[in-house]
Amino acid sequence: MTTPVLEVAGLFRYFGGLPAVRDVSMRIPVGERRLLLGPNGAGKTTFFNLIAGDFPPSQGEIRIFGQNVTRKSASQRTHLGMARTYQIITLFSKNTLLHNVVISLVGLRKIRFNPWSDLRRQTSLWEEARATLALVGLEHVADRTVAETSYGERRRLEIAMALAQKPKLLLLDEPLAGLSADERQDVQRLLQSIPRDVTIVMIEHDMDVALAFADVITVMQHGQVVVEGSRADVVADPRTREVYLGH
């Protein structure tokens, strides 16, 4: 049996006395598209942050590519081949889109510690960044600052920054949030084009988009996994309706 890309066992996270994530366990194999569903406050983003290493779990274990990363920092996990996007767009707004992607590329290279070499002269980096922007359809605005771009373009830049690192595990936190219908289609197409050797875990509220994308769906509520299974199983499960409609 191949090693799962992501394995979570008995994960808990308390904020004070409040359990934000309760006893979550999960195994995600290579290439799977996993969708996390659930109402606001279900603990999806907290779960993401635990996997990404933003804060440690109160209890439980996280393994990425078979390695126990429970006590490893966010940057160490990124160096293993994990990348993420944020629900609230987190970009370098004064810099150009190109510069943002270069920052993303530099994060995995030793040049990040070099106090001498001029980053502007690293032409291969800038070319690679431009190619990544072309991949997400942002080549024409590559030299604009983030502040001069639309919300949809920023969402795509978020994804471009993650893709630039050529991750094997990609965490997407509501990549379609706040987009127009056309922009949603663009981003959907972009997500569909990501090669299958990249495992994707995504939080999304848009059921139609999400169901079309996912192989396996995990429904969360009150920090717990309520339902898990294939699209058909989850849609047919009465607990899913209960979570979303309350009856």
């Binding site: 933003d54 940057s75 990348a83 370098f92 004064k94 040049i111 990040r112 106090p115 001498w116 001029d118």
Partner: protein, 332 residues
């Protein structure tokens, strides 16, 4: 070939700095210029933390003072030569910056500020109370200026060129650092630390390395300070010295290369020249600082640049009053 206006401005500034000993008639003003240059190196080093790293420190006088104390003690009291004394002073002060960075970077924001302040004040207390080593309130003196390459540094003009060379090297190194991988990483950690971690950057380590680099330049300023004054007292390590450096950076413009130099000039001129005419010169400094914050909150250099650009883009006088203009500011 058309030469860019920024290049012309730089050339004019460099020419003016080089010609200064001939432009001013008295040694007094040349010495003031030397003080400005030394203060500028200190402010530039602090700007690495504040402007490029987003780490506001109130303990930067520590590096100025420790390097000054060490160089004077080693050279004038412990029998070391000038070169050995200078190298040990700078090296030991940089090691101190490693330790202080390790302690201060356990916190961020206000916590960082308070730790740097506390560490600086501890050193001030040591210098004040350990009189057998530091001379206490009387300070430590007896240093004679070195004669590198046969240069007579007792000559104010030669000393000015000596420190100006260090400022040039500092500016070049810091400009290089700012555009380097580490410098860009530091600016990223200033703007989006959480994102930087997610992108694979070791935020703490990047900040610590930058902290040490800033400490090194603070030490260089301290060495030059010791050569200039040939004396050091606990006042050099005091909070007011750190606050003055902070004022230089904020007044000149954080995150710019020229800002701290201009800020240093402003503070040193007010302190040394204006104070001779106005007893309450600190009030004037306060008023100027408030004016800068009100009218150029980004600091003198970026603020003046903005004003000049706005003036250049101003429509011609014969243009109708209601014509759209990019120079028009936001409605008030």
């Amino acid at each position: 070939m058309r030469v860019p206006s920024s290049m012309i401005s730089w050339l004019v500034a460099v020419a003016a700095l080089l010609a200064l000993p001939w432009l001013v008639t008295s040694d007094y003003y040349v010495n003031i210029a030397s003080q400005i240059v030394i203060a500028a190196i200190l402010a530039l080093s602090l700007n690495l933390l504040i402007g490029f790293g987003g780490m506001t420190s109130l303990g930067h006088a520590a590096y100025l003072g420790v390097a000054a104390y060490l160089s004077i003690y080693l050279t004038a009291h412990a029998g070391f030569g000038h070169l050995a004394g200078a190298l040990i002073a700078i090296g030991a002060t940089t090691v101190l910056a490693m330790l202080f960075g390790f302690l201060a970077l356990r916190a961020s924001g206000l916590g960082f500020l308070m730790i740097t302040l506390a560490l600086g004040q501890i050193l001030w207390g040591v210098a004040y109370r350990w009189a057998s080593l530091t001379g206490g309130d009387n300070g430590l003196g007896g240093l004679k200026r070195p004669h590198p390459f046969g240069l007579n540094l007792m000559d104010p003009a030669i000393f000015y060129y000596f420190v100006l060379a260090f400022l040039g090297i500092a500016l070049w190194c810091i400009a290089r650092f700012v555009q380097s991988g580490l410098g860009q990483s530091l600016q990223g950690t200033r703007d989006q630390p959480r994102r930087m971690r997610a992108l694979g950057y070791e935020v703490w380590l990047i900040q610590w390395l930058s902290f040490v680099f800033a400490g090194f330049w603070g030490a260089v300023a301290g060495l030059l300070y010791a050569y200039y004054h040939q004396f050091v007292s606990p006042q050099t390590l005091h909070l007011t010295t750190s606050a003055e450096a902070l004022l230089m950076v904020i007044a000149g413009g954080t995150g710019t290369l020229l800002g701290p130099v201009v800020g240093a000039a402003l503070v040193v001129i007010l302190k040394n020249i204006v104070s001779a005419y106005i007893t309450r010169w600190l009030i004037l400094l306060g008023v100027i600082f408030v004016a800068i914050v009100l009218f150029m909150p980004e600091g003198l250099v970026p603020g003046l640049t903005r004003w000049v650009r706005a003036l250049r883009n101003r429509p011609p006088a014969d243009k109708p009053a209601d014509a759209p203009s990019v120079a028009k500011g936001p409605a008030r």
